[in-house]
């Protein structure tokens, strides 16, 4: 045995085990996130549980099985649950998503397997997605129009409901368009007029004529607004027409106006194809719609938009600086101590904790730079800050510094792979150094620059800590890009997928309900980032191959 240990074989196996462990960790992580994230959109079967409560009383629970765990009998007994003496040592406990938040104490309930008398798949159960209070589970009992029940056969109810829901949704989308489009524009214009007036006043140029003119403009806008408001109220009134009567698990009949309902489906009646179709539909809704109910329901569109927007802005800033720095280091820098310092600076910029960049960004960009911009260009809005508060521009700048080393290192690697014969050939033909760079070196290094850029984007997309200080918010009322002049609002705060994960997972009032959403968001983010990284790696590998062939 001692000899065997001395031979080193066990140690080699142990080191091999470490590799396997790392692999399990990596792959396990991806599988976990992928599975949890994607299964969220699958229409889960809804069960009806008949429950035996302690005093012999019976009750029914309808809901999805959300989670299952093993519990030791001892723990349950010490927690004060009786009647388990002759049960096995470890019992199953299910977490049931009951929904119907406004009618029950807890919309997620733990039930012990021993208290379930029977479990059946609830036929014809309908799951309603609503604008508030989460999902509702129940059986359709009837449809009311203006409070009067419609006389429809039970098998025609679902069809009728989906037709009427379509109308309600059309009304809702009209209402939303009006609110975010025209009414949003009017509010924006009014604010601009106010600021214009204030600016003139500050400059001492506010003449009576000007004031009257501005007043006229704002009155005109007010009138437009009033007209739109009547239209809006009209839509709302129309939307109140239909409602659906639903029987919930206690047998109570609940009347819900269709204006609260976003979607409904019957998971237990679906075929596999329908379920797949539903899955894609849900995924589409997730990436394209706005969050609801303090981000615990709905989609993540603003977060996707904010992330992409900020990252693109950052890419625009970081690329020129990174590439120039890399060209300097590789093509121009003399072998002296300054170059050495710059190299150390690059390494250190890569190693400084991201939160330090956040602190720097907040203090320097937001308060000093933004504060000065406000003083110079937006004195009319003060004391309300324009650029002097965290926003998307400052986030992009902060992350640009953070990702600068990534671009530099990657570009420099690309530059070093270009055979020097190419440069020498160009110089020998009479080109200047800058011409050689522009015509020969940079075009050849462009895939490397691309790689660096992609890696920088991937890094920036996943970074959260500095953003928490320089511009990300849990709920941004408007996107940084909209139809109001100047269209690009770099001073606005934005939403971010990474911060969304943190916020929904850790700050939300209903963590249980939000958890699958966090997994789905995580999956989205991981897919994007890993995809970007794989793209960068493959570009880099192609490049290596290309130059390897050039060298020979």
């Amino acid at each position: 045995m001692g000899k065997w240990f001395k031979s080193g074989t066990p140690w080699i196996w142990m080191t091999g085990g470490a590799v396997s462990l790392s692999l399990i960790a990596v792959l396990g992580l991806f599988i976990l996130i992928g599975w949890r994230g994607l299964s969220f959109f699958w229409p889960a079967t809804v069960y009806e549980f008949s429950m035996q409560v302690e005093d012999g009383h019976q009750s029914t629970l309808i809901g999805e099985i959300y989670d299952t765990e093993h519990v030791l009998k001892e723990q349950l007994i010490s927690a004060g649950i009786k009647g388990l003496e002759n049960k096995p040592d470890s019992l199953d406990r299910f977490l049931i998503k009951i929904g119907n938040r406004e009618y029950v104490d807890l919309d997620f309930q733990w039930i012990l397997e021993t208290s379930i008398k029977s479990t059946t798949v609830a036929d014809n159960i309908v799951v309603f997605e609503r604008t508030k209070n989460g999902n509702f589970y129940g059986y359709i009992d009837g449809i009311k129009v203006n409070g009067q029940a419609l006389d429809i056969k039970p098998n025609g109810l679902v069809r009728e409901l989906s037709e009427r829901l379509e109308r309600a949704l059309a009304l809702r989308s009209k209402e939303d368009d009006l609110l975010s489009g025209e009414i949003g524009r009017i509010n924006y214009e009014l604010e601009r007029i106010r600021l214009q007036e204030r600016k003139l006043q500050l400059d001492g140029k506010l003449t009576d004529k000007k004031q009257l003119e501005l007043k006229g403009q704002s009155e005109q806008l007010q009138n437009e607004y009033l007209a739109l408001e009547t239209e809006l109220f009209d839509y709302r009134e129309q939307a109140k027409r239909d409602s659906v009567v639903v029987k919930d698990m206690t047998g109570r009949l609940v009347t819900m106006p269709l204006s609260y309902i976003l979607d409904f489906y019957q998971p237990n009646n679906m075929t596999l194809t329908q379920k797949i179709g539903h899955w894609f539909h849900q995924v589409y809704k997730f990436v394209s719609s706005d969050p609801r109910e303090a981000n615990t329901e709905g989609g993540v569109f603003p977060a996707i938009f904010g992330t992409v927007f900020m990252v693109m802005l950052m890419a625009v800033i970081v690329t020129p600086f990174g590439v120039i720095a890399a060209i300097y280091l590789h093509e121009y820098a003399a072998k002296n101590s300054i170059t050495k310092f710059i190299r150390i600076a690059v390494i250190n910029l890569a190693g400084v904790p991201s939160i330090v960049y956040g602190v720097f960004g907040l203090g320097f960009f937001v308060y000093i730079l933004g504060g000065s911009i406000d003083q110079l260009f937006y004195p009319e809005a003060l004391p309300a800050p324009t650029f002097g508060s965290p926003g998307v521009l400052w986030s992009a700048l902060t992350l640009a510094i953070l990702t600068l080393p990534v671009v530099i290192v990657s570009t420099e690697e690309g530059l070093s792979r270009i055979p020097s014969t190419l440069r020498e050939g160009s110089l020998a033909l009479g080109a200047t150094k800058s011409e050689t760079l522009w015509r020969i070196v940079i075009p050849m290094a462009s895939p490397a620059i691309m790689t660096g850029l992609i890696l920088a984007v991937a890094r920036a997309a996943g970074e959260v800590a500095p953003l928490m200080l320089v511009g990300v918010v849990k709920m941004a009322p408007t996107l940084p890009l909209d139809g109001n002049f100047p269209y690009l609002h770099l001073d606005r705060k934005f939403m971010h997928l990474g911060f969304h994960i943190y916020d929904v997972g850790f700050q939300s009032p209903n963590v249980e309900a939000a958890r699958p959403l966090v997994y789905a968001t995580s999956f989205l983010l991981v897919t994007v980032i890993i995809g970007l990284n794989l793209a960068a790696i493959s570009i880099r590998n192609n490049l290596r191959e290309k130059y390897r062939s050039l060298e020979h």
Partner: protein
């Protein structure tokens, strides 16, 4: 021909200029990296430095006094524009401190024609009590009204009589008062006094609002103080009207006056410093600390400390001021105070900071009186002949080296401690900003992460670089490295919401993994060694991880499945309860173990990648030589390869540590973020980075709290700078060594 040449030359000139421009442009752009780093360093320092800046004062106004009476007290308004003085005869005079009417007498008031005794409340109450020879007391509050005629600020002094203009009779038989103290809040007021016959009287007034008229009337109750000493030097009421301090020479009597029908002596003790006598006592803002000035210049701080379930006044610390202290002037809102001495010296102190911040001789006469502005940005100084206003630059007195890095005895704490508690709802809150607990948390988190990551990452690097078949290596290496790209917010989220509950429920299984995984690998190795050669040759050493993958997976599964049984068997069915009750170990759901695992995963790819590169690039000639001399593969590895690559591995570990120290999201999400100091693996921590992320958005720009958070960022910056620079130097050296080989 000539023309062509000229054009060519001109074109060439243009090209040369362009070439030069590009050169300078690129060089400038390249140095921008250095500039950025310096800018970050410089800016952090720029924000941090003011907290260590020394206190300075400079005179802004000065005027000659008209009547050289001895001044009893001074006061100043919030904007430092109007001041008042109370002289020993009880004359209250307001002066202007404005440029245009400097020194002008704005308002005068005399409570009684002849004043026997004056008492002053704490500065935040800002009220005076004047008594005459018949034991009557008038309460006067010098006040300021701010108006804005023509958009310009205008401060007008006025007098308020919070208890009405009629005098209160404190003494029951018209005796003069020898000592007097007064204090009030919105509902109650109290007067404590010593009559000329030596009797101690206590007068409690309670406000009663008339429902109909809204007028307030004060109900008056009089009590005699029990066990009152014959001689009294000083009386002092606390603003919350709970305690009365009676000083008799070096002895202090503390009365509990919170219940008017049960006024009693709480304690009596000596308060003088060694070999000296007490000259005066004063309350610090917040009324929990008592400052005792001694003749030899020692100012000692006392407050109540819970000892054996009893609150007892305890000596806390002392400050060294100049000899013969004449007065102690506390600040309005902060725990700072000033002392004046007979020799005309002014000293500024802060109790949490534990240091003397400033001292200077302001006058040569022995009649120095000072007052501090409510915002603590100015002091008013008077001597026999002059009144002067000084601007004070003392923004961050509470932040000193000792307050940041040493144990501090905070008010109400049983002993000196390292505490981080930066904010509270109350104004008079003593901010506790010790960086020790959060630095400790940072080290703790990094330590557990490294404990987890280093063995795995380094072993994996060794195997991948040295034993693995090249064809698999091209896949395995990027797979592990891609984990570095994984956003830490996702790792943090999984750690906090997925891993933490699993670890909590299946703790025995997790602990079992520590043993079962290596053992299963060893068993697999043993089986392989004893396999017939024909079989064992089929599995080459280069593909071990693929063989071990299912083995480890199955072992892991069974270990977790065995968790419940183990829990029943070893821990009475409830590990958490067992840990807490039997072993006395606290268990938080989000603890260091979780952080160690999650952050370990985050740093594994960093360490793995650099260490693997270092091992892989050990020149082949070295290994070949060793193998040719008859060493086994393992011997070559441990005696040649690892030794040669050890600087590279060291540098990898340093880089990993740099990352673990600065990581924010994982610790933010996977711990409870409580700043405790305990190595217990089952408890959480708060790290520098998480602390910044949590508190920075709420801290006021320019406040001490804001600057201390910048200091935390600066500490992180410097730490990672040093670590990364060392690691980089080591790597450079190694690279040179390899290339020379």
């Amino acid at each position: 021909m000539e023309r062509d040449l000229a054009t060519t030359l001109r074109a060439n000139k243009k090209r040369v200029i362009k070439d030069k421009l590009v050169k300078y442009g690129v060089t400038g752009g390249g140095s921008l990296v250095l500039v950025t780093l310096l800018l970050i360093f410089g800016y952090l320092l720029y924000v941090v430095l003011p907290i260590f800046a020394p206190v300075s004062i400079d005179q802004t106004q000065s005027f000659k006094r008209q009547d050289p009476t001895t001044i009893y007290a001074l006061g100043i308004d919030e904007q430092n524009e109007v001041a008042y003085q109370v002289d020993e005869l009880g004359l209250l005079t307001f002066y202007s401190l404005r440029e245009n009417d400097l020194g002008e007498n704005l308002l005068q008031y005399q409570a009684f024609p002849s004043i026997n005794k004056i008492a002053r409340t704490t500065s935040s109450t800002g009220t005076f009590a004047f008594s005459n020879g018949q034991g009557e007391v008038k309460i006067v509050k010098p006040d300021f009204i701010t108006t804005y005629p023509k958009d310009k600020r205008m401060i007008t002094p006025q007098l308020r009589f919070p208890l009405g203009e009629d005098p209160l009779s404190v003494s029951d038989n018209k005796q003069a008062l020898k000592q007097l103290s007064f204090e009030m809040n919105s509902d109650y007021a109290a007067v404590a006094a010593v009559q000329s016959d030596g009797k101690g009287v206590f007068l409690l007034l309670s406000a009663e609002e008339n429902m109909m008229t809204g007028e307030t009337t004060w109900e008056q109750e009089s009590f005699e103080l029990p066990s009152f000493p014959h001689h009294v030097d000083q009386l002092l009421l606390t603003p919350n009207l709970r305690k009365l301090f009676v000083r008799n020479g070096n002895n202090l009597l503390v009365y509990d006056i919170s219940e008017s029908n049960n006024i009693r002596v709480l304690s009596a003790f000596q308060i003088n410093a060694k070999d000296s006598n007490v000259s005066t006592i004063q309350l610090l803002t917040g009324a929990s600390s008592l400052l005792v000035a001694n003749e030899n210049g020692v100012v000692s701080q006392w407050f109540e400390v819970l000892k054996d379930n009893k609150r007892e006044f305890t000596y806390i610390r002392d400050f060294k001021a100049s000899k013969n202290i004449t007065s102690i002037v506390p600040e309005y809102y902060r725990k700072g105070f000033m002392t004046t001495s007979k020799s005309g010296e002014l000293s500024i102190f802060h109790s949490t900071g534990e240091t003397k911040l400033f001292t200077e001789s302001l006058t040569s006469t022995d009649s120095l009186v000072v007052a501090i502005s409510p915002r603590a940005n100015a002091i008013l100084v008077a001597d026999k002949s002059f009144i002067k206003l000084y601007h004070v630059d003392n923004e961050h007195p509470e932040i000193t080296w000792s307050a940041l890095w040493q144990e501090v005895w905070y008010e109400g704490y049983p002993e000196p401690q390292y505490v981080w508690q930066s904010t509270s709802a109350s104004d008079e809150f003593e901010a506790k900003m010790s960086l020790v607990p959060i630095s400790f948390g940072t080290i703790k988190a990094a330590f557990y992460a490294m404990l987890f990551a280093v063995p795995i990452a380094v072993s994996a690097a060794i195997y991948t670089a040295y034993f693995m078949t090249p064809s698999i290596r091209t896949y395995i290496k990027p797979t592990v490295e891609i984990m570095e790209a994984l956003p830490t917010v996702i790792l943090g989220f999984l750690a906090g919401l997925w891993l933490a509950p699993i670890v909590e429920n299946q703790l025995p299984g997790i602990l079992l993994l520590l043993i079962s995984l290596p053992v299963s690998v060893l068993i697999a190795a043993l089986i392989w060694s004893n396999l017939p050669k024909s079989l064992s040759d089929r599995i080459s050493e280069g593909v071990l991880p693929l063989v071990l993958l299912p083995i480890l997976f199955i072992t892991g599964y069974f270990s977790m499945a065995f968790s419940d049984t183990l829990e029943l068997w070893l821990f009475n069915g409830d590990t958490r309860m067992y840990l807490t009750n039997e072993l006395g170990i606290n268990f938080d759901q989000r603890n260091s173990l979780i952080v160690g695992i999650a952050m370990g995963f985050a740093v594994i790819p960093t360490i793995f990648s650099i260490a693997e590169d270092a091992i892989f690039s050990v020149p082949k000639s070295l290994t070949m030589g060793s193998l040719a001399l008859g060493a086994t593969r393992w011997q070559t590895l441990s005696k040649v390869v690892l030794l040669t690559a050890s600087p590279g591995i060291f540098s990898a570990i340093m880089m990993g540590m740099g990352r673990a120290v600065g990581e924010t999201m994982i610790v933010l999400m996977a711990t409870g973020n409580t700043p405790i100091m305990d190595w217990n693996i089952f408890e959480g921590m708060r790290t520098l980075s998480a602390n910044i992320a949590v508190e920075m958005p709420e801290s006021a720009v320019g406040s001490s709290h804001y600057r201390v958070l910048f200091l935390a960022a600066f500490v992180l910056f410097i730490f990672t700078f040093v670590v990364n620079t060392i690691a980089e130097f080591v790597r450079q050296r190694l690279r040179e060594k390899y290339s020379s080989l």
